[in-house]
């Protein structure tokens, strides 16, 4: 009997059913889409901040770092020691580790800063470098150097240092907007040979993923295994990144919470308005002798089914919506989480039933009063 009544209630008026479902489905779709988004946003945004470049540096102990332009006797680090320490230290996400060796060589008569490094890794760790030409070539020339010395991709140049000289092909021209525009990048081995400092480097730059405290912890750990050198986070990057990530996360989370709360309330009000319609049915059933608890259970079941069904369909629509949003905003897929499905269904059912709860109060009113229309 209960089931039959319930069936009749649901299907008796298709127009009303459609209206109720539309309200619940739209609310559920937005809620599930936003929840899906919220879980993935952190990761996607952190990836965007990679463009800031390296955030941890390893250098010789402070005070003896950079060479003068006239006298060149910088303090150097052992390349192998540093590489081993990096390999042995645990980190959740090491995006890249790039060694550098600087020397002031001459091209023709002009002194130029030459940086020996791992060219491929350096490009990976600096996504904002704009290269014109063959990025995999023998050298990368900064745009100011190229302009001054009239060098172009697939041109030739000769680096001279302390009597040694190396001819090199120009691979690509670099536009970075910073000091790198004034430097020439060559392979580390070439630079070491030119400077006569085999197996030695001056600075190692790393890009480590994670929040500011995680990066600091990694730097501390690495410093412990390199007691002779100075390991520290790049403050400009980690401080600003931490602050900005926090604010962006807060902004998006607050907006999502706001929309969730208001949408739920809106659906609640709609379901309450729908439930109000059932007043006379309640009065009639009571007049016929039904117990108030059974009657209320019947109507709660009706809205519960409506809420659950709308929530389920809405959640699926929400998955599609979240995928589309992910493509549009991040050009990457948002992986839907299955946990959101039961969460949305339950939430919508609860919201719908909360809307119908006022029907309980009708239990105390005489049926005649209700049937009269008051």
């Amino acid at each position: 009997m209960f089931a039959r009544l319930l069936w009749k209630l649901l299907w008796g008026n298709p127009g009303r059913l459609a209206v109720a479902l539309i309200a619940v489905i739209s609310g559920a779709a937005v809620i599930s889409a936003l929840l899906n988004l919220q879980f993935d946003i952190e990761r996607k945004l952190t990836q965007e901040f990679r463009a800031l470049g390296p955030n941890v540096t390893i250098a010789p102990k402070q005070g003896e770092q950079a060479p003068e332009a006239t006298a060149a006797s910088p303090v150097l680090m052992d390349e192998a020691t540093v590489a081993r320490a990096i390999a042995e230290t645990q980190t959740p996400e090491l995006a890249g580790a790039v060694p550098y060796l600087y020397l002031v060589a001459r091209v023709g008569d002009t002194p130029v800063v030459v940086a020996g490094t791992n060219l491929a890794e350096a490009q990976r760790i600096e996504p904002t470098w704009k290269l014109e030409g063959n990025a995999g070539g023998q050298s990368i020339v900064g745009r100011n150097v190229a302009r001054q010395l009239k060098l172009a991709p697939s041109g030739q140049m000769e680096l001279k240092y302390l009597g040694r000289s190396t001819p090199l092909a120009v691979g690509a021209v670099l536009d970075s907007g910073a000091a790198e525009d004034n430097q020439i990048f060559v392979d580390l081995a070439t630079a070491q040979q030119l400077a006569g400092s085999a197996g030695q480097i001056e600075v190692e730059q790393l890009r480590v993923g994670g929040s500011a405290p995680a990066v600091a912890a990694y730097a501390a750990q690495l410093a412990a295994s390199l007691p002779d050198y100075d390991v520290r986070p790049v403050r400009q990057v980690t401080e600003a990144e931490g602050n900005l990530l926090r604010r962006t996360r807060l902004l998006i989370a607050s907006t999502i919470v706001l929309i969730l709360a208001l949408t739920a309330l809106c659906v609640l009000a709609t379901m309450a308005a729908l439930a109000m319609e059932r007043r006379e049915d309640v009065g009639l059933m009571k007049a016929l002798g039904g117990s108030i608890s059974r009657i209320v259970a019947l109507f709660l079941a009706e809205v519960g089914v409506l809420g659950a069904a709308g929530g389920a369909i809405g959640c699926l629509v929400g998955y599609v919506l979240a995928r589309w949003m992910g493509e549009r905003v991040f050009a990457a897929a948002i992986s839907p989480r299955w946990q959101i499905f039961p969460l949305t269904v339950v939430m919508m059912a609860l919201v719908a039933m909360t809307g119908a709860l006022p029907l309980r109060r009708l239990g105390r009113v005489k049926p005649a009063v209700i049937l009269r229309g008051e």
């Binding site: 309200a23 800031l52 402070q62 536009d175 970075s176 403050r235 602050n243 929309i259 208001l262």
Partner: protein
């Protein structure tokens, strides 16, 4: 008669109206709050991003190559080109002058302090730049290098004071202590060495930690280049670059050029600075500018999409409520038709009710949503979001349209059925 019918329906059955009104108000509150946030977020986040520091670098066009390692220029002072300090005020006269938040000049001088060769970096901490229109613009390191921490205090503008880098101070604590006087000259035996008082120790996290920072005027005198500087870092509020910003300005049509010029892209601000400071090369510091552009455009797109999704959901819920109202009053419609009302009269009574409800509900929703938007702005950015009154007519219009659309579907169906079955209760 019409007015009486409509007002009676409000008086007689307030409960249903309140629920409908509540749904409307909440739906419009969602709309207002999300629109308020979406309108402001671009500006607010752009300001937050200035904590990354300068995003533009100005250098002389016909310069020799800077011998720069780790941020310090090791060129001899008599080599290379310089920028003129007197022209810097013109930066605050370009079209986007209000977007120039600050700029800081640098002049590196190799010097000898206490027998050791050190680099002296001349710069501004809080310096007043005279602007051609008569005002003064205060700018300096705090705008372009906000992550530099000072222990003690920064030098006063133009005074014979110095701030020592943390690494240098750690290496020679006796010489570079707070309050000590140091003597800086071009060479070890310079008779015209300047006496500077150490007022602070700065921790930059970069190569400047091995140098001594002094006011620009002191460095200019020491280097023999009065009124000049080597490079200028600029911090500007910009809009993320899109397709228009990437194109060469000379290839744009006049209309496109206007749009590009009047948008604060980093490329248009660079162009305007180059126009006003001839002989300079202005370039975006790509690390900062691109990260800013990427994150800002993604966040902005995300918020707009979320806003539109919420708007659609709110609109659907409101429409559903309006439809319900009509559906449950089929009996009334039946009676009215039975006593001879035309479809038009019935429809207009209901639509008038919905409209009034929509107006009232949307105003309430606007107030609620604006308040929530302010709270959100306050909690995320520290200052409340402004109330955009322009949203009120937008929200009211939206509510009216949605409520009327929602109720017109059942009304249209109601127009086509016989009164008798309805009155019977079917």
């Amino acid at each position: 008669m019409f007015v009486r019918l409509v007002s009676e329906s409000f008086v007689r059955n307030p409960r249903r109206k309140i629920l409908t009104g509540a749904a409307l108000a909440l739906g419009m509150a969602v709309a207002t709050a999300t629109l308020t946030v979406a309108l402001e977020v671009g500006d607010r986040m752009a300001r937050e991003f200035r904590s990354l520091g300068a995003n533009l670098l100005v250098t002389p066009e016909s310069d020799t190559l800077p011998l720069e390692i780790g941020g310090v220029d090791y060129r001899p002072v008599d080599e290379g080109a310089y920028l003129k300090e007197a022209e810097l005020g013109k930066l605050k006269t370009i079209f986007w002058r209000h977007n120039i938040l600050g700029f800081t000049p640098f002049l590196d001088v190799p010097a000898v302090i206490a027998g050791q060769p050190t680099t002296l970096i001349g710069t501004w901490y809080e310096h007043e730049v005279p602007v051609p229109d008569g005002t003064k613009f205060k700018t300096g390191l705090s705008a372009t290098h906000p992550w530099w921490n000072i222990q003690g205090r920064w030098f006063s503008d133009g005074a014979n004071e110095a701030v020592v880098g943390a690494a240098l101070a750690a290496k020679n604590p006796g010489i570079f202590a707070l309050g000590q006087k140091i003597s800086a000259g071009r060479s070890a035996s310079a008779s015209d060495a300047t006496s500077l008082e150490v007022t602070g120790i700065v921790s930059t996290g970069g190569a400047e930690d091995n140098s001594v920072l002094v006011p620009l005027s002191v460095a200019q005198t020491l280097s023999g280049h009065p009124g000049q500087l080597r490079q200028l870092f600029v911090s500007a509020l910009t809009k993320p670059a899109d397709a228009l910003a990437e194109r060469d300005p000379h290839s744009l049509t006049p209309k496109e050029y206007d749009r590009w010029f009047c948008s604060p892209y980093i490329s248009s601000i660079s162009y305007q600075i180059e126009q006003v400071l001839p002989g300079t090369d202005v370039h975006a510091i790509r690390r900062v500018a691109e990260t800013e552009g990427r994150v800002l455009s993604r966040v902005s797109t995300l918020l707009w999409i979320v806003t539109i999704a919420a708007l659609i959901a709110a609109a659907l819920a409101v429409g559903a409520t309006a439809a319900t109202t009509v559906l449950e009053r089929r009996g009334e419609i039946g009676i009215m038709k039975a006593i001879g009302a035309t479809n038009f009269v019935v429809a207009s009574i209901f639509l008038a009710e919905q409209l009034m409800l929509a107006m009232g509900g949307s105003v309430l929703g606007f107030v609620l949503g604006a308040g929530l938007g302010r709270v959100l702005g306050e909690s995320v950015f520290g200052t409340p979001a402004a109330t955009h009154i322009v949203l009120l007519p937008v929200v009211m219009g939206l509510a009216a349209v949605v409520a009327m659309l929602g109720s017109s579907l059942p009304l249209w169906r109601a127009a086509h059925f016989n009164p008798a079955p309805v009155l019977r209760g079917e």
